[in-house]
């Protein structure tokens, strides 16, 4: 099959280019895209990409495969290859460090902005802060996010304003702490989000939902943040 890989090494190349490589899949098996990258690296050791757990948990190998963001390690070739061709590009919208490796600083900055930790100003109990099973259930579909950035880099609003719009990933996390019964900073958190960019740049096109490798729904979480803002302000 033909693999077209985005290559850019700023120390050597003047501009990024696409490298076409013909490769035979051993045994014609349906391997994962990450396995394919590993085969490519055996052919050309200068190819750079991030990977770690190889099972969709660490979120390192987010990339754009035939136009759709996803994790290379849990995406089988049969799911993305079209007409025996696969185009691999880095996550869109973020600065490229080298080949498929992007600079995630802007993404993490937005994550940091939403204060991704429990804030509780009541005296700490002797053992732990308890939650009822129902309260704990509120966090399902939120806490599973692995910060792979597939969603935020599939979002045009994040492409145009990565410094102002928190992005689907950050907003999913923002709601994770707004929804947590142990957090007492709801008002302050909402006040931080009530500007024309942080939340309201989301126009609900749901690219985030369609690419999330963990099957999460940031658009729904953003809708819930909006409802909380309305309830507080009307």
């Amino acid at each position: 099959m033909l693999v077209s890989v985005y290559r850019y090494n700023p120390e050597v190349d003047d501009a990024p280019y696409m490298q076409d490589i013909h490769i035979d899949i051993p045994g014609g098996k349906d391997i994962m895209v990450l396995d394919l990258l590993q085969l490519l690296k055996e052919k050309d050791a200068t190819l750079a990409f991030r990977r770690s757990c190889r099972e969709g948990v660490c979120g390192s190998d987010g990339m754009n495969m035939n136009g759709k963001n996803g994790l290379a390690c849990i995406t089988p070739l049969s799911q993305v290859v079209e007409g025996d061709k696969l185009v691999l590009r880095p996550l869109p919208g973020l600065p490229v460090i080298r080949d498929l490796v992007v600079d995630m600083a802007q993404f993490y900055k937005q994550y940091e902005k939403i204060k991704p930790f429990l804030i509780n100003d009541t005296p700490a109990p002797a053992i732990e802060r308890l939650q009822s099973p129902e309260e704990r259930a509120e966090l399902d579909g939120l806490y599973e996010c692995i910060l792979c950035a597939c969603c935020s880099t599939a979002c045009p609003s994040f492409w145009w304003n990565p410094d102002k719009f928190v992005g689907p990933s950050g907003l999913l996390q923002a709601y994770r702490f707004l929804a947590d019964s142990r957090d007492t900073a709801t008002r302050q958190r909402l006040a931080e989000l009530d500007d024309p960019f942080s939340v309201f740049r989301c126009h609900g096109i749901m690219n985030c939902v369609s690419v999330c490798p963990k099957g999460l729904n940031p658009t729904k979480a953003i809708g819930k943040i909006r409802t909380m803002l309305i309830q507080q302000a009307t």
Binding site: W160, L193, D194, D195, F197, S198, F200
Partner: protein, 115 residues
Amino acid sequence: MVTSITSFGRSGLYDWMMQRVTAVILLAYTVFMIGYLLFNPDMDYNQWRGLFDGTGMRIFTLLALLSMVAHAWIGMWSVSTDYIKPTGARFVFQSVCGLLAFIYVVWGIQILWGI
């Protein structure tokens, strides 16, 4: 909190709400106008003028006009902050949009109360 001094109401929530409320008003006006034209296929100038002679229709039309201006401002402001990155060009674009909106309101009032 991201600051912005050129958005419609400074608050994202307020802009969001205004966009939805004005959209409903514009929809109501559009449905009314289309319905009126459909149910009066052989309308003449006097009837058209009579429609806009009533205070109710003038209020409804002015409301729709102001809604359109607010709706357009929020939308065009979003477009300009997405796609026009140089501050000078963005400010000029927003100023032109604001000026046009103002002209349309004054012009609209002149037409409504001038007949």
